[in-house]
Structures are given as C-alpha cells and as structure tokens.
C-alpha cells in the first residue's frame, strides 16, 4: 500500500515512450506493394496500338461476382481495333462488385486484362464505380489512365500480374505452366496474330526482333522466363 507501489503499473506505459514507433503516417508514407498485388484492372494494348481484347467474354463468364460486362463486335477490316476478327466493343467493370480475385486475368487468352497494383480509390456515388472501356484501356504510352478519385503511385504499374494462365494462346502447349511477364502493363512483347493488318511478314519479323530485345532486358531485370 502506499502511493509509490501504485506507480509500478505505469512502468510499462512509460517504457513505451522510448520504444520505436510502428505507425505508418498513411497519406504521406505509403508502403510498397508486393509483386502481383491485386488492384484495379487495365485493358492492355500491343506496342503497335492495337487492343489485345478480342471480345471473347471469357472474363465475364468466369467472374464470380458478375461484375464484368463485355460485348464483342466484328472488326472493321479497314480499321481493325484488335488483331483478329472481333474486339471488345463494350467493356465495363463494376468496382463495387469486383472482389479482385483475378480469375479474369487467368482466363484471358490474350492477356488483355491484367491488374495493376493500385487499389486506393473510393467513390461518392455508384455510377462512378462502373468503369467503362475508355477508362480501363491504357493510353498511347502504355500507362493506365488515372481518375481523380484514385491514388496512383508510379510503382503500381510495375511487377503487376504475370500469371500461369488458364488458356494458352493459340493452343500452344509450351505456354502452360510457365509464369510469363507480359513486358509490364500496357505494351506486350508477343507478336500479335496476323489479322486484317497489311504489314508484310518481313516487317513483322523485323519488329518482333526489336521486341525480343526489350524482352531480353526485362528478363535480365526480373529473372523471369520469356517465350
């Protein structure tokens, strides 16, 4: 009994004054995200500007939350949007239904839809949450478009989803089981299928060699396997 014995309990509390702080000052200090972190989706394009989405609706079919709405349309032979016969004419994702499971990324045969690492966003009404194709597709430099209610870091575009994919492009069995990096967000390194474009075989091969150089650089940096 006595006053001093009652002060023993404060020893623990006062010792905390000298302990290191673990609090992250959030808006000023953000923590780095691990690779392949699930965030907001982007619709990718090839380096020549064509969209990768072929409007097959596999992503909408596999989505467990039914948050993707896709409608395909036939490519105009004079002005094809994607290499191939069809392209994604309507593409919408409702981010107030999306659970960020990335099954759509696994299901996509052309790696058109991948997820960046940006997940810090909030809305004040429900219509803002329905992202249309214009907001999802990458711009001409291969960077995702940034909306005013999103909080992008530059690292959110790097080391995004490289996946063991559920379907191999063109049915090639060599792709299965291999984790591939798609040359980062936006621009891919794979030769697009020869669709209605008028580039000759030699020109395509020449540009593909250029892409191989880029691919080489990427594999040295990350140590990933490149096909």
């Amino acid at each position: 009994m006595g006053i001093l014995s009652g002060l023993g309990g404060f020893k623990v509390t006062l010792k905390q004054i000298g302990e290191p702080r673990v609090t992250r000052q959030y808006p000023e200090e953000k923590r780095p995200k691990p690779p392949r972190f699930h965030g907001r989706h982007v619709l990718n394009r090839y380096p020549d500007g064509m969209e990768k989405c072929i409007g097959c609706e596999l992503c909408a079919g596999v989505c467990p939350a039914r948050c993707i709405y896709v409608r395909g349309a036939d490519n105009d032979p004079d002005a094809p949007v994607s290499p191939g016969e069809r392209f994604g004419f309507v593409y919408e994702i409702n981010y107030l239904r999306c659970i960020h499971c990335d099954l759509c990324v696994e299901a996509c045969p052309t790696e058109a839809i991948t997820e960046s690492k940006m997940f810090e966003f909030s809305f004040t009404n429900r219509e803002d949450a329905i992202y249309t194709k214009a907001e999802l597709v990458v711009d001409d430099e291969g960077h995702p478009r940034r909306m005013p209610f999103e909080d992008w870091q530059d690292e959110d575009e790097e080391d995004t989803s490289g996946w063991v994919r559920a379907t191999a492009p063109s049915g090639d069995p060599h792709f299965e089981g291999v984790v591939g990096w798609s040359g980062e967000l936006g621009h891919g390194i794979r030769l697009p299928e020869r669709g209605q474009s008028e580039i000759s075989e030699d020109e395509m091969a020449a540009t593909f060699r250029l892409r191989e150089v880029l691919a080489d650089r990427i594999s040295r940096k990350i140590g990933g396997k490149v096909w």
């Binding site: 673990v22 609090t23 992250r24 000052q25 959030y26 808006p27 953000k30 609706e57 909408a60 079919g61 467990p64 939350a65 039914r66 948050c67 709405y69 309507v90 919408e92 409702n94 981010y95 107030l96 239904r97 999306c98 659970i99 960020h100 997940f119 810090e120 966003f121 909030s122 809305f123 004040t124 009404n125 429900r126 219509e127 949450a129 329905i130 209610f149 909080d151």
Partner: protein
C-alpha cells in the same frame, strides 16, 4: 440557426471554417462491423495504420455518441431494420461510409439474403471498394469524407434522390443485361 443561413462575411466565414475543421478532425465512428470488413477496420484502428491520427480512435458503441457509421460487411435482410434503427439514433451531423463491396452493392452475394447495397436503407456518403478494402483504401475513403466535410459540400441535408438516398439509374445500366445475348427475351 444553421450556419448557412448567415450571410457570408469575414467573421462568420472563418467561424464556419473552424466548425467544419472541428467536425472533420474528430469524427467518432460507430462501428457497424458485420463481417470480414470489420477485421480490416480493426486493422485500420490498430498501430500500423492508426486512425487515432485522424481523431477517430474512439469507436463508440453507442450511436448517440458517434458521428460516422462505417457499415463494414454484408447486411442481411434480417439485419436491415436494425441498421436503420441504429442510423436513426445517431444525431446530426452524421455520415455513412459503406465499406467493402458487400455493403456498397451486395458484392459477390447477389442473392435473396443480402441487401443489395446499404444505400437502399441509409444514405451513403462514400463507398469504399475492395473485398475487403485494405486499411489504405478505407483511409482513402475517410480522407475523401474529410475533404467533403471541410469544403462544406456535405453540410446540407440531402434531398430525396440525391447522392445515394435512392439509387438513381441514368440511362440503361449495363449490368442488368443478361449475358449470352438473352436481352431480347427480357
């Protein structure tokens, strides 16, 4: 007499800003932690991402002492009248953050048991997407709310049909179209 009735002059303008700052700097949440999102809300309140830095460390159990209702988790049909009752017991000014996709739209549970969006029951100010939204996303939503409080755009009582009091559909919403081309049958 509410502040917005006074004609704006130097003195009352500054008082209004002070009041808005005070309201923003000490928002006391009432937890409506219903499901998994509640874990992320607790994580936001814990030491790593501290909500106490924003003055929000006291999660009041009583709605009469709180300003902000964070609906964290899916609201079942059985819970819906309880939610409304708790919201009604809060005193003005009060705000609602709908945390996670289940509270915002029903999320992946598009069925008969879950209310498809808590804004069918209470007016929502900010929706935080994610399943669950991490502490960073919840804090982004909270900071959005703070910005709204500070600029005063949230001070007015909401009219019917405005900002989530009833769900507005503009044009034809794409998500009600049936997949597989069956919309001709609808």
């Amino acid at each position: 007499m509410p502040l917005e009735d006074l004609s704006y002059n130097f003195l009352t303008g500054n008082v209004e800003k002070l009041v808005q700052w005070a309201r923003k700097a000490s928002v006391w949440p009432a937890t409506f932690g219903l499901a998994c999102c509640a874990i992320e809300m607790m994580a936001s309140g814990a030491a790593d991402f501290d909500l106490a830095r924003f003055g929000m460390e006291v999660f009041r159990a009583s709605p009469r002492q709180s300003d902000l209702m964070i609906v964290a988790g899916r609201v079942s049909q059985k819970m819906a009248p309880v939610l409304r009752q708790v919201y009604d017991q809060m005193m003005e000014p009060k705000w609602v953050i709908s945390m996670g996709v289940c509270a915002s739209t029903g999320g992946m549970f598009n069925n008969y048991a879950i209310v498809q969006g808590v804004d069918q029951i209470v007016p929502v100010d900010v929706y935080a997407p994610g399943c669950p939204p991490g502490p960073e996303t919840l804090m982004h939503a909270i900071l959005t709310l703070h910005h709204q409080i500070q600029t005063g755009e949230i001070l007015r009582r909401r009219a019917v049909g405005e900002r989530g009091t009833t769900l507005r559909m503009v044009g034809e919403p794409a998500t009600t179209k049936m997949l597989g081309g069956a919309e001709d049958l609808v």
